[in-house]
Symmetry: C2
Subunit: 215 residues, 2 copies
């Protein structure tokens, strides 16, 4: 399958948006969630770049030094998440076209679909976990980052929260079709919990940011 | 100023995220808000692409035919919004370095800043207006778009809402520094109202989408 996945990171921004707008299966909602979270991580790195080495913030430099490489790592990992999404989505989209004329074919199709649906539900859950790690780092930056860039922490948090909510939809849409309802319910619950966690971080950080930037 | 603005639409996705992460002034939180909203519009177009011409949806084809060119137009307009943000942000960032040693210089600097702050507060308000237009179109698609792509409507709405919240931060951060407090309060109120409107659309559409995709 992999040879069919275009390298979305090498597309221009305009091309990416144009192909997203088309009926091409890739990129779709899943890939965009990963991209938007990567942009949230990048905004965190920008805040670090505007804070690091500044006399005014030297007391928190050691903490910043721990955050910098992690945000860098997550940005790259989340950008790669577009490919991870494609790798589970494309085989699933293809599997729906498997024949189901005979009982044997139907059983085979069901088995293949069940396996791919499970993968397609787990992938956005892993993404959600990673995004929440980024949100935790942004939350730290809302305290120790340059005051001149605190609004960018807020933008980053908003984007990450939207990415988590979007990824949750990709969990639900896949668990919905699963035959193993117990497993499906468990995955949905994990998605719900991660959504709740990200909403809480977002509410907290946004209220901090708004009280800092608004007068 | 304009010659200093890089064409962000022609950067690769990876480059864009990398420059965003750096201390380069452009792109920043404002430009990213516009981009993320453009991705929301693109997702709407994708849903249209997956719906248009389908027998199952022929009854709503006339309505879809009205939505398709509008989402296309907004995607392009919002992508251009990255440049619009840079055009108000860069002169403002420069103006802070104007001399203020004499009373005359201080007065000139204050006047220049006040004018640029007003522009920098109005630009994200225009962006918010445009994004809410996109959200209205996405809301329509949540009813008439292909059921197979309804989760993508939800992703689009989440991204647009995050973009509106992000743009509001860019209103606040600029009005905060304005000397004309009456004007500042009026602009903040406009931002608050647009935020409230977008939150309401997002809540409504997301609950529709979740009840459609989750089981």
């Amino acid at each position: 399958m992999e040879k069919n996945i275009p390298d979305m990171n090498k597309m221009t921004v305009e091309e990416f948006a144009g192909i997203l707008a088309s009926s091409e299966p890739i990129p779709g909602g899943g890939g965009v969630s990963a991209l938007v979270a990567a942009l949230g991580a990048a905004l965190g790195s920008m805040v670090c770049s505007l804070t690091t080495g500044k006399k005014k913030y030297e007391k928190t430099q050691p903490e910043l030094d721990l955050i910098i490489p992690r945000l860098e790592e997550y940005r790259i990992k989340l950008l790669d998440g577009m490919k991870a999404d494609a790798e589970v989505f494309l085989p699933l989209a293809e599997a729906y076209s498997l024949p189901k004329d005979t009982e044997e074919e139907g059983r085979h199709r069901d088995e293949v679909l069940e396996k791919l649906l499970l993968e397609a539900a787990k992938t956005p859950l892993i993404l959600m976990d990673d995004i929440i790690m980024v949100m935790d780092l942004l939350e730290k930056l809302s305290h120790i980052g340059s005051r001149l860039a605190v609004s960018d922490v807020g933008v980053g948090i908003s984007l990450c929260k939207a990415a988590v909510d979007s990824a949750a939809l990709n969990v639900y849409i896949n668990t919905k079709m699963m035959k193993d309802r117990k497993k499906a319910a468990q995955l949905n619950m994990e998605a719900d919990e991660l959504k709740e966690e990200s909403s809480a971080i977002c509410r907290w950080v946004m209220s901090e940011v708004i009280s800092a930037v608004r007068y």
